[in-house]
Symmetry: C2
Subunit: 399 residues, 2 copies
């Protein structure tokens, strides 16, 4: 391929993604969905203008790393400490129930596999796709209605952040065991050493960056060094610990999320992301999803996948919040608020594809889940809040 | 190569480039020089940590396109119209004399070639590397001394902008003729059609973007569509007209330089550039430059190249400004101010390398030129202005 030919692909991807993103937003769907549809349109599904070349795939991979880095940066550790036991327990249930539900769903479709077999880990992987809540749409919706700062809103928000962290840990374990011959002890050992090293090294990095930041606030070097740390940790995680690069990038984000310029780094990284790498990643998913190859069995699986993913979240989070003393309809609010899925589910699927655990046909199920959940959740939340408005809200918001 | 391995290269490149860029700035040298030296350090010249893979080369190519797009966006067409005949004539002389000087230098070293032969076009290419002024350092220096808004300062600034446009046209012609068998008429025809199409299509694009901009000012879609246009024009220029992709990107920048959000687009593109693609491009140059292979003949050529490139600018611009009625020492100020070279010289060299016109050993000469000119020009300007301060200045600046 001549070098200039990449500009053709880039122009098509960037413009199509933006256009369809705008269309999606007009239809009140998440922009991500529009960008994926752009990939379906320009890819082998329809016009066949762009082929997913090795080059584009690597750009998409950078996009994935940047999205995870951003997610880490946006974690508010102080809020997390304050958020308390209820949010933590809700998050645990919100990871555990969908995880088990997803695994059972897979085995129900493709046969029961014994502990430790390949099929068993595939099932676990399908489960781990279901874990990560993407709370963006819920937040938008609650903010619009003016209920974000209420007790339920804050519980959802905190639980969704903790849920990300737990989800990443679960994923890291599942990927660690992907090889049926893998030594359990070694995997656990790697994991423990990685998190210990991240804790110690991360604290050192954090102190150094804090000093650099204090001396040169808002300078270009801050986001650039941050980016360097992100790439370095993504590489080291995968190379030396056998842990997913996305985990490394996410942890890099968490390490830096408390320095004063964290939001500044996030802003600069986000610009790279929304102009370049993000659209490329989402369009690539569309390119890989060949709807023509979709058969009835996969279609049924996808429908069940969506149902299980949404119900397990509502059941898991709803029941746990009931156990924690949240009353009546408010439990359902929490459950519904946690139902939305987004980028992270796609990223986990992509990781499974790259590792050869699952094949690209599962994208259909995940995309369907994102679309359905992000259309349904705002409608359900509006209905629930109209029926029973948050009583604490007006006071909390006036402060 | 495993995907995660690119993160290693990216981390090393980004961090090394930033570090050496800061060191260069501390030494009052341009940051670009620091970034190139970073490439020498991490590349085969010294530590051999990073190899210039196909992947990195393509990222660098995107950097080149973005730099040219930025250069186009920063062109102020209104200023250009006002700048008048003197600046135009100075720019013409500042392109023509170095162009001829460079070609003669090459032939003096490697033998005289007849019109139309391969050697002849190589010589012309070396000439065209010498044409583009990089006025950044001069501007910094004049601003610091408070003479930027004086008559001489403004003449230099305008001439440097026009000089870019003329330089790009010259380069486009030279590349068009790179193939000794190329049909002169066809090349000229392509060129004319391209610029005509850019004029008509560009005007349409400009009007459309102006409308989009008026309706959605400062929205994300503005820089994204701009970027899409940039890539599309880079591709079309090369694919359909046989014109360098960098010309396409530059013209895309000029088309958009007059919309209200031009500066906004430039800012967003620049963030992508300074965080990612820019450093990768400059480091790549360092990676390609193998100083161990440098022989005495190339060393001599480089020294002469630097001398000719600087003297031809002073002579060309200085004499022309004398012809235009600028008096005495002020002519030398104009000549010296136009002497600095920078990114664009590297980009042209890179283009010649990609097209197989010259080999990578010429980078040494260009890098040397950038270093020497950017160290010498501020010293000379300070000396000239101390000896004969600009008399118009104080009045001009107080307004």
């Amino acid at each position: 391929m001549e070098t200039y030919e990449i500009f053709r692909d880039l122009a098509i991807i960037i413009l199509a993604a933006k256009f369809m993103g705008i269309v999606a937003k007009k239809c009140k769907a998440p922009m991500v969905v529009g960008e994926i549809i752009a990939g379906l349109i320009v890819g082998p599904c329809l016009f066949d203008w762009v082929i997913s070349s090795d080059y584009i795939a690597k750009m998409a991979e950078i996009g994935v790393i940047l999205i995870m880095f951003s997610a880490g940066l946006e974690t508010n550790l102080k809020e997390l400490k304050k958020s308390g036991l209820i949010a933590f327990l809700v998050a645990c249930a919100g990871v555990f129930v969908p995880f088990v539900g997803g695994a059972i769903l897979y085995m129900a479709f493709y046969g029961w596999s014994a502990w430790g077999t390949e099929g068993f880990f595939k099932a676990l992987f399908i489960g781990s796709i279901m874990t990560a809540t993407s709370v963006g749409i819920t937040v938008e919706c609650l903010r619009e209605m003016g209920f974000l700062k209420g007790k339920i809103g804050q519980t959802i928000l905190s639980a969704a952040i903790i849920d990300d962290v737990i989800g990443i840990i679960v994923l890291t374990f599942v990927i660690g065991f992907k090889d049926p011959s893998s030594n359990t002890l070694l995997v656990v050992n790697n994991m423990v050493v990685f998190f210990a090293a991240s804790l110690v090294g991360g604290y050192l990095l954090y102190r150094i960056m804090q000093k650099v930041d204090a001396r040169y606030p808002h300078s270009r070097r801050i986001p650039i060094i941050g980016l360097g740390i992100c790439f370095a940790m993504a590489y080291c995680a995968e190379k030396y610990f056998g842990i997913a690069d996305i985990t490394g990038a996410y942890v890099a984000g968490i390490i830096l999320c408390n320095i004063r310029d964290a939001e500044y780094i996030d802003r600069k990284v986000s610009i790279n992301n929304y102009m370049f790498f993000g659209p490329i990643f989402f369009v690539t998913i569309g390119l890989k999803t060949n709807l023509r190859e979709l058969d009835t069995s996969m279609l049924w699986f996808s429908v069940c996948f969506v149902l299980v993913a949404m119900l397990t979240k509502v059941i898991g989070c709803g029941l746990m919040s009931k156990v924690c003393g949240i009353k009546g309809i408010d439990c359902i609010k929490v459950g519904v608020g946690m139902m939305t899925r987004g980028e992270v589910a796609l990223i986990i699927t992509q990781k499974g594809l790259a590792l050869g655990i699952i094949d690209s046909s599962y994208f259909t199920a995940v995309i369907l889940l994102i679309i359905v959940s992000s259309i349904l959740v705002p409608i359900l939340l509006k209905y629930l809040y109209t029926k029973a408005p948050d009583p604490v809200e007006p006071a909390a918001q006036s402060t």
